[in-house]
Structure formats: C-alpha cells, structure tokens
Amino acid sequence: MEVVQSHRKSSSNNVIVSILPLYRSAPPLEVRLEDFEFFAIDRLRVLKGISDGLCRGKKPEEMEKLVLDLWKANMRHPQAVEEVNKDIISHFVLRLVYCRTEELRKWFLSMETTLFRHRFRWGSSEAQRALMSEFKLPYKAVSNAEFESLKDKLGQVARSMGQTLAAADAIFYKVPFEEVPDLVAGRRVFIHKGHAYVAINQVVSLVVTQFRSYLSKALILTNRKWTSTIREQEKDRLTPIVEALCTSYLGPDYSQQQEFGEISIKDIDQVAKTSFPLCMRHLFEKVKEDHHLKHGGRMQLGLFLKGVGLKLDDALAFWKAEFAPKVSAERFDKEYAYNIRHNYGREGKRTDYTPYSCQKIISVTPGIGDHHGCPYRHFSEENLRAALVRMGVSSRAVEDVMDKVHNRHYQLACTLTFEAVHGSSCDAGINHPNQYFIDSQRVLQSKNGSVA
C-alpha cells in the first residue's frame, strides 16, 4: 500500500467479491496522507465503541446493534467500492499503530475479531459460505446416516441452549474439537471421540477462529517490519501519525503516580476507607482479615497500590506485616518478596507493570478462595448490598446501583457508588480503579483542604 502526499489516483480495477475483506494482504491502493489518518480515526471510533460496550457488559443482541450503528456512523460510504477501500486501508493503518506491544496487539486483536464476528453474522448465507471456502476449511458435512445416529444427542445440546433442532438445522459439520474452542468452552456443541458436531449457525465460530489466528500472526510480522524498517523510513511522515494515534485513545495508564505524590504505609488504612473503589476495599479488608491473598488478589491490589503511590519499600513492609500471622518473615522473603519487586520492575525483564483497568478486572473470573475481580459482577446480591451499606451508600442509592448491576453495567454501578459516597457527580464515569482513587482524593481535598 503506497501513501501519496497529494493527489489521489483512482483505485485499482479489481472487483472485490466478498464485501467482508479478510485483510490477507495490503492492497495495491494509493492513499492521501490525510486519509491515512482520518480513515484510521474513524475505524478507531468503531473499535473503541466496541471496547466500551464490552466493558459495560452489554448482552450479545445489544452488541450486535451497537456494532452495526458504529459501523454505519463511521465507515459507511454511498459507493461500495469506496467503503471497502476505507475498510481495508483503515485496518492496515491500525495494524501499524497496534502492533507495537503485546498489550496493544491483544486489544486490537480482540476488537477486530469482535467486529469481524458481527459483520460475518449480518452477512447473507451465500456471503458466509463464500467466506468459509476462502478460509479453506476442510470440514465435511455430516452424512445423513451419522446424523440419524446422533440426532438425540444433537437435539439435547440444542435444547440445553434453549433452541430446537429444526429440520433445516440438519446440516452439521464435523470438525476436530480444537478448531472450535469457544463452542467447546461454552458446551454449545456435542463432542464425541475428539470431534465436535457444529451446527450451520455456529459456523461463525469456525470462521472467526481462523480470522483471529491469522490476524494474530500477521500482527507479529507487522511489528517486526515496523521495528526493522518502516519506523525509521517513515520518521518524518507516517511515524509521528502512527504514534499519536495510539496514545490519544487509550487513556492514562496510571503507572506513574504524579498528582498526589507518594502515600506511605501509615496512610493506607485511612485512604482505604475513604478513597478505594469497592474491588480494592474488598481485597484490602480480606488481606487484613485472612492475612493472606491468593495470586490474583495480590496482583490486582498490589498494582493498584503502586499506582496510588506506594513505594516499593513500603509495599514490601505492608505485605510482610499483613501476612506475618501466617507467613514467617523468612518465608515471606523467599516466596512473596520477589513477585512484589517484579511488579515494580526490579526483577526479571524489568517491566514496570501497569495497574489493571476496569475492563481487565471485569473480564476476570475469580475462583475458589479468590477475592479479586469486579464485585459488581461477582458478588451475590446480598453480599453486594451489605458491602455498599458498609461504604456508606444510602438505601435509595443502593437500589440504583443494584439496578445497574442487574443490567450488567458494572462500571456505571461503580460510578453511582462513587457519586453516592462522595456526594458529587462523576461525569466521566469510572474506567480505572486508580482513576476512582484520584477523583476521590480530589473531591476530599477540595472539601477539606487536605488529602484524605
């Protein structure tokens, strides 16, 4: 793909058959420098909107509508050919932007895959079949004889999902189970002797897995090319645009605590009561109660404290003191100190880990004995209500919060909690626990003229 400075040649005469491009290779198009940036920004609005929707826990039907609306608003063009060009160009530009670190790649891969999944589903069945053959999926339709012998089990699976096995659904594909991990994970297919029996309407999963796998590898290759040649070659032209595109949309990562300086170990108890969001309050209470936290909890709380301004030495002292009733100082130094130092970038590959955002925390499912994750998502109603009351939320506000929770709007629930506790509004909404902390401290400082 060549980027031209001024005029724009008309695009190639290739007729694009399937409306949904697979982004296999950069097409031989020429793009104006301004379009390079504008197309990317429009697509980024779509991806960011998807990210937001997922974060707020929207149901699949809501997501379907959201994606369609986002696409229409940002990517539509009266001429089909122009729309496809913008689609392809914007995708490849964003590949450059998002190939550069593991976290960026993960995010981009996740959003593009979600986008692809929805666009595939709203395509016609011929378009879908065409795409399937483009992916060269070598799976055969199940023979009538085999279908008859498995009909009961297949019907059982359908009914377990609240569906029925209509005659039209009698087309099944037989694929090795490892090709359809999401269907297996959700127990949405019948598996026997290593084969999964996939209904025609589940074929989306097959296709999306292929798409995802391909894009994942492509991103790594793009990164290599970027670091080895492109970034240097384009340092006066594209590189500044690419680098700016990324940071302008991901928000602060709270890895450097700037605003309130440091907090020391003696401040923690106090600020925990006043300024911690519920997820961190819960972890904090549990570590005080149990004198232990499992790994997930240590990471979530530990990185949050780092973002809040707790220095490494104070962090080590804090965890050591809290664990002391169960863990001897020696054992602590052996088993836990290393990981804390690792989080602060003092060991191993010296990555300075960033505190988890709400999106990340919500996506985690705590297991037995765990206390991390988002309480608005995982607490039982009873426990959540009790926790909110303990935080000082009025009973009317608790109802509003619970309403958000029932609709799976976990971040909105947290925002309402913030507003109830602090008596002031939070227009931006809560996206990050450290943001909650900073906003809280700001409110308190302006009220009392002092921190906490």
Partner: protein, 452 residues
C-alpha cells in the same frame, strides 16, 4: 535407625519380632530421600515417558526432544531452581541423586534447550517458548471444604476422599469419550488431591487457548465464598456431558454416600445450606417447616437425610412446579456438592509446572503413586506407601548385589508395574507409530516434491 516403632499402624511391629531392627521412624528428610532416589525412584521409566519414543532408535526420532524439557527442583531449605534440563537418562538420574530434591516439577518442552534460553529472544523468529506440554488437571480436596464436615484443609479421610474418586470418574470418562484422548495418567498428589496428565500427542500440542476451552468445558462449579449461586444449569435439559455425569456418577454417589455420610440434611445448619439453593422461597419454607417439626422423631427407620431428600425431590420435581428456576434445582444441588472442582489456572497455560509422579510429599511422606481410573473406588489415600515404610521394606529384604528393580520388593512395586503396563507401554507403542507414520509421510512428501 532406632528401636522406636514406625508410626504406620502396623500391628506386627511388636517387640520380639526379628524385624524390629529394620524399623524406620516416620519422617521426611534428605537421608531418606537419598536412599529413595538411589534405589526406588523409577528414573528410567520417567525418562522413557518424557522421551515419548524419541530414543534415537528410529531415523524419525527427534534426539533433542528430551533435552528441551524443563524440570524444576525444590531443594532442602526451600531453594528453588528452574529450567533444569538433561540430555540423557544418566544425566537426569545423576542430577536427582546428587541434588536430592524435596520436590520435582515437570514443565513444558521448549523450542530449545532451556539451558540455552538466554541466547534467544522473547519474540520474533528465534524464540524461547513452550512447544509441547501434557494437558494437566489438578483437583484439591481443600476446595471442597464447604461440603465436607469430617475434615478441613489439608486433612483427608475415607469419608471425604470419595469426592476425589467421583471427580476422577467424571473427568476421565469425558476425556476419553468426548475428547478422544487415550493416554491418561492419574496420580495421587501425596496429601489431599489428584493430578491428571493427558499425554496424547494431540493433547501435548494444544495451544493455551485450546486448553482454556477444555478447562471451561469442565467448568461448572463457579464461585467462592462471596458468591451465592455456584452452580447454574439453565436450559430445558442438560448438555449430554452433564447429563451423563449426573446419571452415571454424581446422582448415585450423592444419594447413597455423601448425603448420609456427611449428614447433609440432619441438622438445621446443614439443611439451610441446601434450602438456600432453592429459588422459590415458598417451597423452601414448606420444607423448613416440615423438618423443624420432625426434629426429634423420625417416622421410619431410614436415614433421616434420605427421607428428607426424598421429600425435597418430590416437591421440586412434581408436575405442579411451574417456576423456571426450579426445573433443574435438584440437579443443581447435587452438582454443587459433588461436581469436580478443578483448579482452572493449572490447565490453561503450557508453562505451568506440575509435580512429578513418584515424588514424595514432604508433609505426609507419602509417594505420589498412580491411581487406576478403572478401579479408583478401591484407592485408599491412607494406605499409600510412605517413605519410611518403603525404606523399612528395603531393610527387611537385606542387602542385594544387583540394584535393579528394588521396588519389586516393596509396596512401590505394584505402582511401578501399573505405571508400566497400563500407561507407559501403550503410550510408547503409540508414540513409535506416530514417529514412523510422520517419518514415512515426510519421505513420501519429498518424493512427491522431486517428481515432475
């Protein structure tokens, strides 16, 4: 060796028995381990297993395979060393005998010898990354503390151990029938749980995403002390896997064993836990009323738990119940008490290290012996050979010139024999076939390439 009697409950160790001099006091220490590793630990078998047929005898063998496997040792004083690798059985054996590790963990097979990992990048072409690893599962009985009243934490007895037995049955059947795996090794973890090693080639080559999908397929019990509803079985019917597990294993075990042995309905505290799981408050109240009235007198001679369970079932399963949530309530109760609770994190990642079979558990002195899934009802964790017991058995045998197969004269012999005949030999046979087929296929391929 002193004249103290070994604490093994062996009544024949009374005074005046000639074998008194052979008594080995219970314990776990470097001296005992040295003898264990010297005479009993099956180094050669572990090597053969980990080589998966790559013994150099066939031209298709990968001679580097064994050397790319990571082992980690935990030495006395909690010193932990990772990335140990060996190029031959002799190296493996000598290192174990010399270092005398208190625990040996097995990690993945990497792309290159772990000893050389620093020469390779984290990403790009020349990576140091896992390429093969068995599919593993870890089930720990302390995760069932909320449903067993006989023991807590690290303790285990014959009343609650059957929870592990049924976990083995459910998972083993599914791994074979649903996923088509054949080479599965179940191992006692030495204290309170079991590990499962799935060693088919297909399993070893699964990606992290595929492993996560399998773990999720098995993931039914969700929750910790903060959430209330831990098992949710929506849908009109159960998925065939769940239905089979219920009818073939869980229902029978719950009704005949767990319910009466743990007195799940005998007291108010315990039956409240079950009543809590019934979504219809009026049904729960009705049962509560009946049981409170019936506290002292029991109408029939049958166990009170069984009587009350029948009452509960007949109310919930009667045709009168229209409420959605009640449809699967009985199954949900049974599942929440008996369904396997896997440690998800262990199974998801290729680089997770897991304790090697035939290690000795430092806290109990028991050997991590294989468990026959076809006979798991017979397995008794309280009679698993201990380190001191084995040494005693060796003593009784007297000195022998040949050091081969010493385990045959001890209780360990049975376990090693089982390991060989039921697991290792069929596995190696299958690996050889795989190596041959793959080699022949490559030959064929190159012939095709050369032909016009």
């Amino acid at each position: 060796m002193t004249k103290e009697e070994a604490d093994n409950g062996r009544d024949d160790m009374v005074i005046d028995v000639p074998g008194q001099a052979n008594a080995v006091p219970d314990g776990f220490n470097a001296n005992y381990l040295r003898i264990y590793y010297g005479k009993l630990f099956p180094h050669a078998d572990m090597f053969k297993w980990m080589s998966y047929g790559n013994d150099g005898k066939h031209p298709g063998c990968d001679k580097s395979y064994f050397g790319r496997r990571e082992f980690s040792f935990t030495l006395e004083n909690d010193i932990y060393i990772r990335f140990q690798s060996f190029n031959s059985v002799t190296e493996l054996e000598n290192s174990i005998k010399e270092k005398c590790p208190f625990k040996i963990d097995i990690g993945p097979v990497y792309s290159v010898d772990p000893a050389k990992r620093h020469a390779y990048a984290q990403s790009g072409d020349n990576v140091f990354t896992p390429v093969e690893r068995e599919l593993v599962f870890d089930i720990d009985i302390s995760d069932y503390d909320d449903v067993r009243y006989c023991c807590t934490g690290a303790d285990v007895c014959l009343e609650c151990w059957p929870l592990m037995t049924i976990a083995i049955k459910v998972i083993d059947t599914s791994l074979r029938d649903d996923f088509g795996f054949n080479h599965i090794l179940w191992v006692y973890s030495g204290r309170r749980g079991v590990h499962c090693w799935v060693c088919d080639g297909k399993a070893r080559r699964l990606t992290n995403e595929q492993r996560a999908a399998i773990a999720d397929y098995f993931h039914v019990y969700k929750g910790n002390e903060n959430s209330q509803k831990k098992i949710s079985l929506p849908g009109l019917v159960l998925h065939p896997f769940l239905a089979r597990s219920y009818t073939e294993v869980l229902k029978g075990f719950f009704e005949a064993k767990l319910l009466p042995n743990q007195n799940l309905l005998a007291s108010e505290e315990r039956y409240e836990k079950i009543l809590e799981m019934i979504p219809d408050a009026s049904v729960a109240s009705e049962l509560r009323r009946r049981w409170q009235e019936n506290k002292r007198a029991s109408m029939s001679k049958d166990d009170i738990n069984i009587v009350r369970w029948e009452q509960l079932k007949s109310i919930l399963q009667s045709g009168k119940q229209k409420m959605q949530g009640l449809r699967r309530c009985v199954e949900e109760i049974v599942f929440s008490y008996t369904y396997p609770r896997l440690d998800m994190e262990v199974s998801r990642h290729m680089n997770h290290l897991l304790k090697a079979p035939f290690c000795v558990h430092p806290k109990t002195g028991r050997v991590c012996v294989p468990i026959d899934p076809n006979n798991c009802d017979e397995f008794d964790p309280t009679t698993v050979p201990t380190l001191s017991q084995l040494l005693e058995e060796l003593n009784r045998g007297g000195l022998r010139q040949d050091a081969e197969n010493e385990w045959d004269r001890t209780s360990l012999g049975e376990s090693v024999a089982f390991f060989r005949t039921s697991f290792l030999q069929p596995l190696l046979k299958s690996c050889k076939e795989e190596i041959e087929n793959s080699y022949n296929a490559k030959l064929q391929q190159s012939k095709n390439d050369l032909s016009w």
